[in-house]
């Protein structure tokens, strides 16, 4: 298992990269996209009224004591809004992150197929689950090249099916975005690093990173430390855990120097270290403060957090010290 920090981004600059992605993407078909989703608000009159006001829908069916919600609002009741989607599966987050890292950072919805099994009324609380139905091969569109991802959602109220919602999005690499133009006239947007893949199993780790703490999981059953984060203990199988904050001391257990291929946002050559922490677990991250060709196995390093991009958390990296030069 590789640590997210170590995963280089890639760009869909060549068809071969798309070909390599194909089998990875196909593996997501049939996997859940949302498990146990719940509407953030019950079906309610104010949201119905706002919707009707915007769309100019004056139907008598959507107002008054026997009002129902406009059927086309079905998806609205499942939306995550600014606070984000709950119940999204780790598999779906991984699929989106895989496409993001392939340069397909933009999303546009292309198809929506809904069946309305019964009207929704104010007070109804929707629950929903969805699965990844299909992931297409690479498609070149006017917007850019990307992949179509189709999900199918079943929506229920009190266990009763009320609707189905099939949704297709295109995740694509923008064809005309400033960062992909080759005019050389405009300042090019700096390529961004791959974003962390945060899921239920590792959210605690990234919460720690936000606070500039490197947290190690500790099994509540047998007290064995583990890293990277996992849902269960490999030693005893327990799913209960707490955390220990790393003291920050470590040594280079192993390392590689990356020369090729170059990835946007990274400037090879650079050293990627497998750092053994004083607590005994190992983490993959960058070794900084030492030229790439001076990193050595056994070199003591010290944890620090470096913010590489505005608006993103500072990341844990390890600073090495060059041994004093003889005669210097």
């Amino acid at each position: 298992m590789s640590h997210p920090l170590s995963r280089p981004p890639s760009r869909p600059s060549s068809p071969s990269l798309y070909d390599q992605l194909g089998p990875l993407l196909a593996a997501f078909e049939g996997r859940p996209a949302v498990v146990g989703g719940a509407g953030k608000d019950p079906v309610n009159e104010p949201m119905i009224r706002h919707w009707c006001e915007v769309l100019g829908d004056t139907s008598a069916a959507y107002a008054g004591p026997d009002a129902v919600a406009p059927p086309a609002m079905l998806q609205v009741w499942t939306m995550g809004g600014l606070s984000g989607h709950q119940g999204r599966s780790a598999a779906y987050e991984e699929l989106l992150a895989l496409l993001d890292d392939a340069g397909c950072t933009s999303v546009v919805a292309t198809d929506c197929e809904q069946e309305y099994l019964r009207p929704l009324r104010p007070g109804d609380r929707v629950a929903f689950d969805s699965v990844v139905e299909s992931v297409s091969g690479p498609k070149t569109t006017k917007l850019g090249t990307g992949y179509f991802v189709t999900t199918r959602m079943d929506i229920r109220v009190d266990g009763e099916p009320v609707g189905t919602h099939r949704f297709r999005i295109l995740k694509y690499a923008p064809a005309h975005a400033p960062e992909t133009t080759s005019t050389g006239q405009k300042p090019q947007a700096a390529p961004t690093r791959p974003r962390p893949v945060v899921n239920r199993d590792n959210a605690g780790f990234w919460d720690g990173v936000d606070r500039q703490q490197l947290l190690i999981q500790r099994c509540a059953g047998c007290r064995v430390l583990r890293f990277p984060w996992l849902p269960g203990c490999n030693a005893c199988g327990s799913g209960d855990w707490d955390t220990v904050e790393a003291c920050g001391d470590g040594t280079v257990y192993s390392y590689v120097v990356l020369h090729h291929p170059p990835f946007p946002a990274f400037d090879p050559p650079y050293a990627v270290g497998l750092i053994e922490l004083a607590e005994g677990v190992r983490i993959i991250s960058n070794v900084v403060g030492v030229p790439y060709d001076k990193v050595r196995i056994g070199m003591p390093v010290r944890l620090e957090f470096v913010r590489y991009e505005e608006g993103r958390p500072a990341l844990p990296v390890f600073r090495g010290d060059l041994p004093a030069e003889v005669g210097a």
């Binding site: 919707w51 139907s59 406009p70 059927p71 086309a72 064809a175 975005a177």
Partner: protein, 134 residues
Amino acid sequence: MRAGDELPPMEIEITRTLIVAGAIASRDFQDVHHDAELARAKGSPDIFMNILTTNGLVGRYITDFFGPTAVLRALAIRLGAPNYPGDTMVLTGSVEDVDGDTAVVRVLGANGIGRHVSGTATVRVPPSALGGTS
């Protein structure tokens, strides 16, 4: 109500307000639906209407015609040319099939740059409402 019946066209002015208000009313905070600068950074000339708003407009087009007692059973739409601010979309529809009290209506929405939406609506129309619409 017979196969081949045409619905009167409906014109929708695609204002910036409609796009933004539609996105917010559908709780869709994707920046391409409200922030022109970020939309351009993603390769789009301007903000554009989200699919939920289009879906809502197609739903309204159907129920405006068949009346408040008609019940939408299904909507299936595909988007093409985006709805950008300043454009006008004209929705047209024709009854494709009638089975008892249920009609399948083919809907098209054309804007200044092409076909924004195409799809079908399945609607159940109580017999009492038929007299006024056929």
